[in-house]
Symmetry: C2
Subunit: 95 residues, 2 copies
């Protein structure tokens, strides 16, 4: 299993629009082959900060996700709204 | 429900010791009243970086966690090993 935890931030004024773009990614991502779970969180005190916790069957499923049309569309829509570059890291679950 | 996502980093040389301290926190934390889940992850590329994803029944359960003897002991053990101050944030689950 491959676990991805991504931190994604919008510029403050664009948070509602950015949030819609991220929310629209959830359903098609969950339908991808090899997607075991895909959860989206918003920081309660810093609402421009979002985190996804994603479980994929393997590295190739996680990489294929980044090449899907819905991810490409989201990146295009959000291109001018990123507060900082997304931090997308692979994790090992210890417990 | 209160969701806490914490980012905790060790100084690089202390990563194995730091990891043991974090792993020792899991079992007693899961036994606390109001702990719905408590997961621990280690960054695969930056092993000195750890994330916990914690689900608590409510804010008071999450706050009580920080006042437990096992958390106090872990902070005491890890006090000289933190790579940076822990970032402990409350999140809303959007999906």
């Amino acid at each position: 299993m491959t676990i991805i935890i991504a931190r994604i931030s919008s510029i403050p004024d664009a948070t509602p629009q950015f949030r819609e773009i991220l929310q629209a990614l959830v359903a098609p991502s969950r339908k991808e082959p090899g997607c075991l779970s895909y959860e989206l969180f918003q920081d309660a005190e810093q609402p421009s900060d979002f985190i996804t916790v994603e479980r994929w069957a393997d590295d190739s499923a996680a990489e294929a996700h980044l090449a899907t049309p819905h991810v490409a569309a989201a990146i295009a829509q959000a291109s001018s709204l990123f507060g900082q570059p997304p931090l997308i890291h692979r994790f090992t679950q210890l417990a």
